[in-house]
Symmetry: C2
Subunit: 508 residues, 2 copies
């Protein structure tokens, strides 16, 4: 399965691609071809979330800079002139799908804006698709005709916030939903069968190791105690596995095809009445429902994942070299403080205690800094995502990837448990939005914008996405982008999806 | 510092001890002597939370059984006849401090009952003390006279639920608060100074490595970026360190003095207006405030800590021997299923996916079972606590301790942020209570019992503790202990503290 997706990466990164297929509807299963949709993009920008120490990651990216082309999501339908405007750091024009063109599936609203100069191009990428999943051939080996009721459709939204180059975000935006589709193929029949999922399946045809004629093993076979596995948890497992395979694919191809850099990934899958919100990184998803805010993700940063990182450094000290200590100190320890006692935290602690300073404590802490300045190994400010296989500590051979996790946290929201009105929305945003916008401010914008549009006006969600992006970007004033309260707006790339939970054209 | 506490363990376990000092009040700092309070107790009961596979832990306990004496908390002031009644599995009489004797500090209510026969003695232990902390001598080396305002008092409550013998719970109930006191000695001045805590302290006198005359290094010294450390987090760190030192002490002394078995520890420290609730194990603390339930702890079990355990097994496969796999399966894999695909979860997943069964998957899963039957290495059902240094997998040399954590999770509750009424309480209970009592049922009992007593009746919190214990124990009927709804009552040891948050005699 991996090899089937792999060919698409090779194609994508090595030469020109096929014309954009545009958004697909459920009755267009053929649109899920593995062919890439746009010309290739090689990484070409300095590290974004990766700090100044990530030199070795930036170096090969520089070599590729010259031939880097600039791409934006195909659903924006940008002309060459539009593409240049979207790439203009000075104007920072907000981009949305054209009002006149084909709308995004599920009446989704979308808007984005490029950063104020922190990287050459917009390193965010986005994807919005309807994906058809054909069931895998049954164990008998005989091809089964796909017919009505046999396949499954899922709606898919993805935001990918790239760093240290745009390659990983670009590749993930093209391929992650295909990995999800592959993982769901095994589940097409199981998810449509209300009985508990089978714990054991026959081996797939042609797999080494399958010898006896395989049979489904029912959930109530010989073991006295067995766990109940829900249908939801199979979908969660499929999404988790897809993230892992996407990351492995980037690892395997990074040398040959320059899939440089890494990206945060925030993904929503709508399947059989439920929204699965999967987040790996520091993007954020919230539901605003009747004015109430329901968090649908949490951020993964050196601060929120401190104990996982420290535990890993403690159990595998070889990953720290002789440069880092897994202990945390409130500031860098000075050589003159040897023998004195300083506050510290280890992997088991949430509080602080004093310890006698020893020589090893003079090493740089694995986790340091606070808020947006928190870093792992003085380099990277997010601890989950895809890619980053080449990321190393500056002037060192120490790889950082072992500390990063590609696994998302997945939250499930059952759309059928609540009667949603047209003003109830799921908002996805990269950290460019949330750095300067609180959840409450976003909810206020939802209320303000949607109340000025008729409930059945299809442009209302795009207008809301634009308002959110504009509210985070601000306007140019006093040599900077500033918000109405004169605070600095976000100089980062900003991308926002608005998904109506009960609006026109949504689920049936 | 460790050696100072160690002598007390030796004394406690090797020979008879000093007479019970009884509850102490803040003006009795001398009562915090390290001398043990009651005659020694050697472990003598079969494993409780440890399953049948924990044979090697039970074996040495058996040898000690003959000379095991039975002890209950000194504050119960039990006569020899009362001690026999408290040890009677048939009658299961509820025990509380006598109404006529000295009351527990803070008007605390307490009640306990022995199990229905699962272990020879009641393996729960409890402690309720007022502890005076004298500041450590200053760095100048000159002894400083303790005077008013220089020391600190904390109130302390501890519940210890033993398993595989009563030794660890007994030792912890005698010594853990002394470890906490030791840890707080450094903080006596710091906690009473409203300015931010110093990040660096001079070395303690006589410590190797302290050469230059030490000076306090203020929080705003040379490093540009430093973390703010709160006073609360110092107390949290002190409690965490105390748990660790208590556990290390048990490890060092387990061979010489038969500190066998392990215990869950649920501890509350009241200091300077705040309640610090520290939990390691499956006991539970809730606040019932104006009818509202505020959870103050969470349980640590193979299910809630699955991912931590699996990650450890994955990173340190030598800890699994050739007997266990870190992967989780919904049931035991059969040899005939080799090559088929079964649902599994690894350390990164919360969902389930199918994998091809290989030979290694036939090993026993590190984590298996559900609910109260969940086990680590088929042996133990709690994943945090003190002791268990000798616990090994049955018919194997594999130690289980590496998978257990002695670190509590500490939650902080600020008593000054809310005007509490006499009916607002903090309830601590071992799992014997919570196995058959929901939080809501406990809150209903709080309301029902306290409403029948005058707000200033000092016996109301003991009556409430007794009602909670009785409600979980039930009455003997149909060859078992049964609740009014005819469901089985708890056959486990049950211990309950009720701490009034705004009642008579509480904090000033």
């Amino acid at each position: 399965m991996l090899s089937r997706v792999r060919s698409a990466v090779a194609h994508l990164v090595s030469s020109g691609g096929a014309p954009p297929p545009g958004p697909k509807s459920p009755d267009q299963p053929e649109a899920t071809s593995l062919l890439p949709a746009v010309p290739p993009e090689a990484p070409g920008s300095p590290p974004a979330k990766a700090g100044s120490a990530s030199g070795s990651a930036a170096a090969p990216a520089k070599a590729a800079e010259a031939r880097a082309s600039f791409s934006r999501p195909t659903f924006l339908q940008l002309s060459p002139a539009g593409l240049r405007r979207a790439d203009d750091h000075a104007g920072r024009a907000v981009q949305s799908p054209p009002d006149t063109g084909r709308r995004l599936p599920w009446s989704t609203g979308y808007a984005e804006v490029i950063n104020a100069g922190k990287s050459r191009h917009n390193e965010d990428q986005a994807c919005c698709e309807v994906v058809y999943v054909e069931g895998r051939r049954s164990g008998s080996g005989a091809p089964r005709e796909p017919g009505p009721g046999q396949g499954l459709c899922f709606y898919y939204w993805g935001l990918f916030d790239g760093h240290a180059g745009g390659g990983a975000a670009e590749v993930a935006s093209r391929l992650l939903h295909r990995h999800i589709r592959e993982q769901l193929k095994d589940l097409v029949e199981i998810l449509q069968d209300p009985s508990p999922p089978p714990l054991c399946l026959p081996s797939t045809p042609g797999t080494p190791g399958s010898s006896d004629p395989p049979h489904l093993v029912g959930p109530h076979s010989c073991w006295p105690s067995q766990k109940e596995v829900t249908h939801d948890s199979l979908v969660v497992g499929a999404i988790e596995s897809a993230f892992q395979l996407m990351d492995e694919q980037m690892a395997q191809e990074r040398h040959g095809h320059q899939v440089e850099g890494g990206c945060c990934a925030l993904v929503v899958v709508y399947l059989l009445g439920k929204m699965y919100v999967a987040n790996a990184g520091d993007s954020r998803a919230i539901i605003v429902r009747n004015g109430e805010i329901i968090p649908m993700s949490r951020e993964f940063t050196p601060e929120t994942e401190r104990q996982r990182l420290q535990l890993l450094g403690f159990l595998k000290p070889e990953l720290l070299g002789s440069e880092f200590t897994h202990l945390e100190f409130p500031r860098r320890v000075q050589p003159k403080e040897l023998g004195q006692r300083m506050l510290y935290r280890d992997q088991n602690m949430t509080g602080w205690a004093y310890k006698h300073i020893e020589l090893e404590d003079l090493r740089f802490p694995l986790v340091c800094g606070e808020g947006k300045k928190a870093r792992v190994m003085a380099t990277i400010g997010v601890t989950r995502g895809l890619g980053d296989h080449n990321l190393r500590v500056c002037s060192s051979s120490l790889p950082i990837k072992p500390f990063l996790s590609c696994f998302p946290e997945v939250r499930v929201y059952d759309l059928t448990q609540y009667e949603h009105c047209p003003d109830d929305v799921l908002v996805l945003g990269t950290d460019g939005l949330w750095d300067v916008t609180s959840d409450a401010e976003a909810a206020a914008t939802v209320d303000r914008v949607l109340s000025t549009y008729e409930p059945n006006d299809p442009s209302r969600y795009t207008a809301l996405a634009q308002a959110l992006v504009l509210g985070a970007r601000g306007t140019p004033r006093d040599r900077g982008w500033r918000l109405p309260n004169n605070k600095l707006g976000s100089g980062d790339d900003i991308s926002v999806f608005v998904i109506p939970l009960g609006g026109p054209g949504s689920y049936s």
